[in-house]
Amino acid sequence: MSRIGVFVCHCGENISRTVDVERVAAEIGKLPGVALATDYKYMCSDPGQGLLKKAVAEHKLDGLVVAACSPRMHEKTFRNAAKAAGLNPFLCEMANIREHCSWVHEDREEATAKAIDIVRLMVERVKKDKALQPITVPITKRALVIGGGIAGIQAALDIADCGHQVLLVEREPSIGGHMAQLSETFPTLDCSQCIMTPKMVDVANHPNIKLYTWSEIEHVDGYIGNFQVTIRKKARSVDMDKCTGCGICMAKCPQKNIKSKFDCGLGTRPAIYVPFPQAVPNTPVIDRENCTYFKSGKCGVCAKVCGPGAVDYDQQDELITEPVGAIVVATGFELYSIAEKPKGSSIKGYGEFGHGTIPDVIDGMTFERLASASGPTGGKILRPSDGREPKQVVFVQCVGSRAREKGISYCSKVCCMYTAKHTMLYKHKVHDGQAYVFFMDARTPGKSYDEFWRRAVEEEEAVYIRGMVSRLYQKGDKIVVMGSDVLVGVQVEIEADLVVLATAVQPRQGADSLAQKLGISYDTYNFYSEAHAKLKPVECATAGIYLAGACQGPKDIPDTVSQASAAAAKVMTLFSRDQLEREPIVARVNERNCVACFSCKKVCPYGAVEEKEIRDRQGNLIRVVAYVNPGVCGGCGTCQATCPSKSVELDGYTDEQVMAMIEAL
């Protein structure tokens, strides 16, 4: 007969408010095989764990059930306590009577009855639990960083500085991301390029960083410590080893008027190009869609003028598989556009702002390019439509953000600060100009942030109007901005020369498909989800994958850099050990019954099932059976469900245990 100890937690009042914990303990105490059933206010606290440890010794317990919160919360805690008490940790299970019961029910009677059922099931399961030993697997001490913006660069540099190899994958031709596009940065107004480009060069020169630009993640296999990543190196059409970066190809390319994505469509670039002069690597890419040679088969000027003969029109996409132990996802953001959205889309455009058809209505990033010394106007603020200097500029905040009717309810966090910055940059460049800002609230939490905003209002004379803009329309060469000033209680109409919209920060297009490749979760907006909002802000729920920057939620540069360094620290913590201890919740094959249909191999999402030959002493093949590699097995149990002869069992979740649980109901 088992001697099981059951500990029912009040969780303060979280459980005891709706569940009669004392009755649960009393009822469970009557079950055969239960040697002790008791309740306590906070089982996870030190005295709570002490109670559990003491009980193991006093009552000679051989199995434990802690009826409390979700095992995701505290399974480790109690298994460690069981271990400290001299019990195999896998003989301790949690019965979730909080998330599965007290939090979702109101009726005390019914909730108590359900809690008793839940605990009873777990008692049956523990009766059939077996002592399991942890599995150790080697760690590949090599990290993959996806995204070469400031987040990816910071994470890559930190990990590489610690002596570990890093692969940095960037989908654009150069690293740098959005920060390379910015003019000056708040709250100190230092030049973005000046602080960014040295870091980019550090990445290029770092002996531990392998850079894959113009590349994308094709496929990810494996698990923490042992990922296999397939990278698609897109055809650059330029041999990176031969190219010296002299730029003559770009100068001679007859296609000159392709809108530059880097300059938000304001500037132009040739068909063979680097996105900006400080690009890393300084190796051009041929934009095959716009290249005359790729379109018509004629031209070939770049190949003719290239001294080292680096231009290679026949280059093909290359698939490279690399082993890595940890992954940092830093894919960043993109700006919401007010353009018309496809029908049925949950996010709507702004018809009242002309759906982006008014040329002098631009977004914040376009303004950054106008204000940037390296931008298409050389740092002069000029209207895109006629190149005139705007004398009245209206900035509109919260376009898309905090706009439930448009489909986005979150705050984009950075716009209040960058709009304040924009008014200053504008004032510095156009002394007789006037900036107006329509805002809902000025949100400036951050070191020196509020001071910065007040400077914009008080010293740089930006006129802040609290209220929303209802309509924008072109009138002659002016844009009429119709809004309200809710503090004064009047309607406002301003004839502006230029309107700058602080549009919402959204995850990158395709963020969801990358998440699916990586097996990480994401929210309704496609921002990647951290494992715990407060206590695990950089880890994904998928072990070995970490988040950095705006792909997890809108962030400014200081926050992004902090998170990137935090993610790097997590990677280094993982790499500080040579072997990883894994939970032994893995599948095991009964080789006597396995008929080698390999259904398990076909369904295994981890690629953990191998074919194993059983031979006699003379080496004659007796039979072939399935074998689950415990290092690779993720413990999902799909093989167990699939096996037609029930020859695969998941330790800790055997058929016998599950059937016993069902029968106990």
Binding site: R592, N593, V595, A596, C597, F598, K602, K646, D655, A660
Partner: protein
């Protein structure tokens, strides 16, 4: 009823001219491949003890190749004898097998499930105008009346992909799809009526397990239904256990069943098991566009997840 021949009033004899030619071809080929060592054994049919009947036979001696025959009485699906469940039937080495179109689907299925390797077997495909249903009198000629139900809707009279295909197909008449009509009748029932129908059918089951023993896809050496720790299916012939067994059987065959209907033929209680098999096959076709065919499929529809899989069953 069921696999039993349909005693239709308009029973007309079928053209059985191909069987003699097929028999000749099998004998010749079996003798050749046994003599030259291509194979160590030929799994085929020979005459049964009673006139007009046949039985499965394994020939290893080229001199005995003349014992092999093919006739409308060759009902068995011989693919069964190549599976692990019957591991001692065929000794080691490459073997040849006489296979009708329906049997070849089973062979293809077994290949897809890693149970057979194409290069390890030699397939003597036979052209088949149909075999007799189980109620037919020994020795009576094959007619539209005593034809097995499955043969009335056969789409694989001439097998493809065999190492040798013996015989040429005579012209065959259009026949009423008796089984399809029966399926339509069941489909038209309300769920309660259908439940009652199957409850009645399964109540007769004596759990002899002949359906399992004859099925080429029930090749597990240890059937989960025989396990007792934990016991998934009650093993005595009582209603709950009977229902559980037949549901397990049908579900385990979904996306795999080759449609040979051997389970129904051997059932001593005349349970129309092939109706269940065909219903599952129909579901597979409607949900995943999958049909058991003559080419091995490595990942069956139920072993694979695709983004565009039908999700409508989750409501």
């Amino acid at each position: 009823m069921n696999n039993t021949a349909q005693k239709l009033e308009t029973a007309t004899p079928l053209d059985t001219s191909c069987y003699a030619a097929v028999t000749d071809a099998i004998r010749k080929e079996a003798s050749r491949i046994l003599t030259d060592g291509t194979v160590t054994a030929v799994v085929g049919y020979k005459a049964g003890r009673r006139a007009g009947t046949t039985m499965p036979a394994i020939v290893t001696d080229p001199a005995k190749a003349t014992e092999l025959i093919f006739s409308p009485a060759c009902v068995n699906n011989l693919a069964l004898y190549l599976t692990k469940a019957k591991k001692d039937v065929v000794k080691k080495g490459r073997v040849a097998i006489v296979a009708k179109g329906c049997d070849m689907r089973a062979l293809a299925g077994l290949m897809g499930e890693s149970q057979l390797k194409r290069e390890e077997i030699f397939i003597i495909g036979v052209v088949c105008a149909g075999v007799k249903g189980s109620g037919a009198v020994n020795g009576e000629p094959l007619t539209t009346g005593n034809l097995a139900r499955k043969c009335r809707e056969c789409t694989v009279h001439t097998p493809e992909g065999a190492d040798l295909t013996a015989g040429t197909l005579p012209s065959l008449p259009e026949l009423t799809p008796v089984e399809a009509e029966e399926m339509a009748r069941l489909d038209a029932m309300t769920p309660a009526e259908r439940w009652a129908f199957w409850k009645e059918q399964f109540s007769r089951c004596v759990r002899c397990m002949a359906c399992r023993q004859v099925c080429p896809f029930c090749y597990c050496e240890q059937c989960l239904c025989d396990k007792n720790r934990p016991q998934a299916v009650e093993s005595t012939p009582r209603p709950a256990g009977n229902m559980a067994w037949h549901i397990v059987r049908a579900m385990h065959l979904a996306g795999r069943c080759a449609g040979c209907a051997e389970c129904e033929r051997v059932c001593p209680m005349d349970i129309p098991l092939n109706l269940l098999n065909r219903k599952m096959a129909l579901e597979m076709k409607e949900l995943y566009g999958f049909e058991a065919g003559l080419t091995p499929v490595e990942k069956g529809p139920l072993a694979e997840y695709k983004d565009n899989d039908d999700q409508s069953f989750i409501k």
